[in-house]
């Protein structure tokens, strides 16, 4: 590390003349010739430590700044911190170095790097804006739904309609409120028609089956009672959805802190994601059965189940930033349902009766619930594959960086 050669001359040499006034009593400085030491010439950076006049002077410095040297990543960092403590080139000459940089290099080389325990970054807690009570707020739609159903059961006629309308509005607001906060909070930004398609799909789940089956036999005869059981079950299933999402987020955060590589992280998140989706589907099916029994309506497992899976996965992807994919999938499912209805209605036109054939044969085989099932099912499957790729990435779960 002995660096010879023309020393780096500070530009201030010309300003600092030979007769700079120094206090006569200051005996701590050993360099009597002041700033002229650095002019030209070759000087050894370091004498061997076996010299007799003094012990290793760097050792005292090493002890004083041990902490700093162990944490440093670079000799330049040691040099910067030494200068902040008041070291300069003349003081470095006391340690037999040409300047602070070479002294810092020696310190860096002599102190072994401390392997400090890895600590998670401060502030890597919940992302900002997460409402603390979202777990409790998830129960709000459940409560409102139960109240609405009870209200409609207990009233008759006009008050019944009014109660149903008010209850539906309240439930809608409750669902919005619970989704606004918590782990299913979507980032602000253009949504690309997600809302429109969601409303269409829910509307189809409400009355589409009835319209389709009556259109197949000769045309809608009049207003029919809407099939409220699937929609009710879906609303009640918001709470488990929120809890599943919260569980996923918490596990992902823990996994981020604990995993050493991206592949390891993905491997830890993937089974949990698939498991949570499966558990939620089971919960939805159970709720469908419950609602069907309570409201005395046939429970459309296939249609409502696939719709539920589609909505859940679309929401997951939207929350993590993939809005285009989710809105595209919702749009495709909605368009498929609309096409099915349109073909049935268009089959009445003269010469277009062949349009009715596919839908009619499918409905005859499996019932009217096959249409939403076939529309939403493949879309949900695609979204599931996409979610397995996207949500297992570390960058999807990174908390937003604090502004430096």
């Amino acid at each position: 590390m002995n660096e010879r050669g023309h020393a780096a001359v500070p530009a201030g040499t010309g300003l600092r003349t030979a007769h700079s006034e120094r206090p006569a009593g200051g005996g701590t400085t050993t360099h009597a010739d002041g700033g002229d030491t650095k002019d030209g010439g070759v000087e050894a950076a370091r004498r061997p430590t076996g010299s007799s006049d003094s012990a290793d002077p760097v050792k005292a410095l090493l002890h004083r700044h041990r902490d700093l040297c162990e944490r440093a990543v670079d000799p330049l960092e040691i040099a910067a911190r030494l200068e902040a403590h008041g070291m300069n080139d003349r003081a470095a000459a006391r340690f037999r170095h040409r300047d602070v940089f070479s002294l810092a290099e020696e310190l860096y080389a002599r102190v072994p790097r401390a392997d400090e325990a890895w600590t998670p970054e401060r502030g890597a807690a919940d992302p900002p804006g997460a409402h603390a009570g979202w777990a409790v707020l998830a129960l709000l739609p459940v409560v409102l739904c139960t109240a609405t159903v009870a209200g409609t059961h207990l009233t008759e006629g006009r008050p019944r309609l009014a109660t149903a309308a008010v209850g539906a509005a309240a439930v809608l607001l409750g669902v919005r409120a619970s989704l606004r906060r918590g782990p299913l909070r979507a980032p602000a930004g253009p949504r690309g028609g997600t809302h429109v398609w969601t409303c269409w799909l829910l509307g189809y789940a409400l009355c589409g089956d009835g319209v389709l089956s009556s259109a197949l036999v000769g045309g809608p005869d009049g207003p029919r009672t809407p099939a409220t059981a699937p929609v009710l079950a879906l609303t009640l299933a918001c709470a488990p959805a929120l809890w599943c999402a919260g569980l996923l987020a918490a596990h992902a955060r823990r996994g981020l802190a604990a995993s050493r590589s991206l592949k390891e992280f993905a491997g830890s998140v993937r089974p949990l994601l698939l498991g949570l989706v499966a558990v939620w589907l089971c919960a939805l099916i159970a709720l469908l059965a419950l609602c069907g029994a309570v409201l005395h309506q046939p429970a459309a497992y296939v249609g409502a189940g696939s719709l539920g899976a589609l909505l859940l996965l679309a929401r997951f992807l939207t929350v993590h930033g993939r809005t285009r994919v989710s809105s595209a999938a919702l749009g495709v499912a909605g368009a498929a349902e609309a096409t099915a209805l349109a073909t049935v209605l268009a089959g009445r036109l003269p010469g277009c009766s062949f349009l009715v054939v596919p839908v009619e044969s499918a409905v005859d085989l499996w019932g009217p619930g096959v249409v939403p099932g076939l529309a939403c099912g493949p879309a949900a499957l695609v979204l599931l594959i996409q979610a397995t790729r996207t949500l297992t990435r570390a960058s999807a779960h990174a908390s937003p960086p604090r502004s430096p």
Partner: protein
């Protein structure tokens, strides 16, 4: 000459740091045009507004550094591969570590082309420019820098053999943090400043600081050949090291990035100026070519401290037994010399008193135990009160370590006071032989110096006069502005930007773009000469040229046209 001033979190924002010298520069060079390209650091800074701008600042373009909106461009497969290559090169250069300066801190001859050292030195710069070109061609760089592919590339580079040891133990959150920081630092690459109507139209880029502020200048140099001048009044790399926080892998990688960026900026700059020798040493260590460094001291306004009286009178008004301590607001860490030293001073000179200007970082009690000296109420007073207190003392002491340039010391020198200061940073260069300089952390030497000055009024007067002369010679704003003007002309003459101006026939017009073509008025307007400052007899419009008499022989009368046009 049109100069593009590049700042980051500085001028023209009100709360910008180091905005004062930019303001002096812009106002002092009224014959040039300035375009200011400013990056803001936080939303609050943008909301606070700008300082009032002089008319020679023709344009100000700002961009936020604290946010970046993804422009929604989705990359195709080829673009993704191009991005992966460029970003991979960048992070490989960052993770590889190694000394900053090829050819090393002693400034040996630059590496020959084609050797390993030269390739390493070019790798970072080429990767930066590849990313910039990608941003210009395709856009969507912000989204790509935040994507999983970027994190995966970083992970691969960290685990590669030959990477930094600290990078090899990086975990997933560290990788995410580093990716986020890199995305923030590379935001200037996505700006639209580099077109022909932006930075492509200036003659010279002047970066007000090193590091990220000079990044647009780097790109302008590569794209349009605009020469770059970098001015540093604080070593950027040193500031980065001092504020480093976080885990070791994060700090190591970011320090490596900043170091490489700084070295690349210094390599590409036509000229680098340092505020003092202290910063100059850092610049040389990071690989600047020594021939391209100039030292330009910052200018301290003399008008504020110039009270028009002789320095001798000032000294007479001062209390001969008062010692004034300055520079304590910025003193980092070591405040202990002053109370110990003052105890020693009191022991030798019981009548001595200590006054403190400005609130010390740890409160007034951290400096004085309260028993000995009365310390002046170092509150948040205005400048006048601080000046009055500085003027009230006979000896001005600068204890402790001051980060950056010691402005308080220069102001004391303007006032003609004898100074005693500790030898840290740029202090010895500023004071020279016009004051006493003591070794740091030595309170006995400090006390002895103060006592010696307190007892000898003649020496005080001599040192004070020498200090004032020195300050007026070296640290005035005019000198600073004149130095920059000379540097501008030198750079423009050595690295002219070729913009051929064509006349009506389409031929290149010689001297079409001279260096100082900007006149302070619009010369195409019909202004009468007295308004232009010309002679009074040229009041009327100039008459057309008369034909010579011999041309009249051809049968035409010499036409004396009364009305002429002021042709150019």
């Amino acid at each position: 000459m049109r100069i593009g001033l590049l700042t980051e979190g500085g001028y023209p924002y009100v709360s910008g740091e180091a905005g004062l010298w930019c303001d002096h520069l812009v106002r002092g060079l009224g014959q040039h045009e300035f375009d200011v390209y400013a990056l803001s650091r936080s939303e609050r800074q943008e909301d606070e507004g700008w300082t009032p701008l002089p008319p020679q600042v023709t344009r100000v373009r700002t961009a936020p550094l604290w946010t970046a909106v993804d422009d929604g461009v989705v990359h195709g497969r080829r673009t993704r591969r191009r991005f992966a290559e460029a970003y991979g090169e960048l992070v490989t250069a960052v993770c590889a570590g190694g000394p900053l300066a090829w050819p090393g801190p002693l400034n040996r001859a630059p590496a020959e082309e084609g050797t390993d050292e030269a390739i390493e030195a070019d790798r970072f710069g080429n990767a930066l420019h590849a990313l910039a070109e990608l941003a210009r061609d395709e856009g969507g760089l912000v989204g790509a820098l935040r994507s999983e592919a970027a994190v995966r590339t970083l992970e691969r580079a960290c685990r590669a053999p030959g990477a930094l040891r600290a990078a090899g133990v990086a975990r997933v959150p560290d990788l995410l943090t580093v990716t986020a920081h890199l995305e923030r630092l590379l935001r200037p690459l996505s700006l639209d400043w580099y077109g022909a109507d932006g930075l492509g139209s200036v003659d010279l880029c002047h970066a007000a600081a090193g590091g990220p502020a000079a990044l647009p200048g780097l790109l302008a140099r590569r794209l349009s050949g605009i020469p770059l001048l970098v001015t540093e009044y604080g070593a950027h790399l040193r500031a980065h090291y001092l504020e480093g926080a976080g885990n070791t892998p994060v700090r190591a990688l970011l320090a490596s990035f900043h170091g490489r960026l700084t070295a690349e900026v210094y390599r590409q700059a036509a000229c680098v100026t340092a505020g003092d020798a202290h910063i100059r040493r850092w610049q040389e260590r990071c690989g600047t070519d020594r021939a391209g460094i100039r030292t330009v001291h910052p200018g301290v306004t003399a008008s504020r401290t110039d009270d028009g009286t002789e320095s001798g009178e000032c000294a007479d008004h001062a209390d001969p037994y008062t010692v004034v301590g300055v520079g304590l607001t910025e003193a980092a860490g070591d405040l202990t010399p002053l109370p110990h030293a003052f105890e020693e001073i009191r022991r030798s000179e019981p009548r001595a008193r200590l006054r403190i200007v400005g609130a010390p970082a740890g409160g007034p009690d951290s400096v004085c135990s309260g028993r000995h000296g009365e310390h002046g109420d170092g509150g948040e007073d205005g400048e006048d009160a601080a000046e009055a207190r500085t003027a009230a003392g006979a000896v001005v002491v600068l204890p402790g370590v001051v980060e950056g340039f010691p402005f308080d010391l220069v102001e004391a020198m303007y006032r003609g006071r004898a100074t005693v200061s500790t030898d840290v940073g740029a202090v010895a260069e500023v004071v020279g032989d016009a004051g006493l300089v003591v070794p740091p952390c030595d309170h006995r030497a400090l006390a002895e110096a103060c006592v010696a000055l307190l007892r000898d009024p003649g020496r005080r007067a001599r040192l004070g006069a020498a200090a004032r002369v020195r300050a007026l010679e070296l640290f005035t704003v005019e000198r600073n502005v004149a130095a920059f003007h000379d540097i501008y002309l030198e750079i423009i003459s050595r690295f002219p930007v070729r913009r051929p101006v064509a006349d009506e026939a389409g031929e290149p017009l010689p001297f079409g773009v001279p260096a100082e073509a900007h006149l302070p008025w619009r010369w195409t307007q019909q202004l009468s000469p007295p308004l232009l400052g010309g002679p009074r007899w040229a009041v009327g419009t100039p008459s057309g040229a008369t034909r010579p008499v011999w041309a009249a022989a051809a049968g035409q009368t010499p036409a004396l046209r009364g009305t002429g046009e002021a042709t150019r």
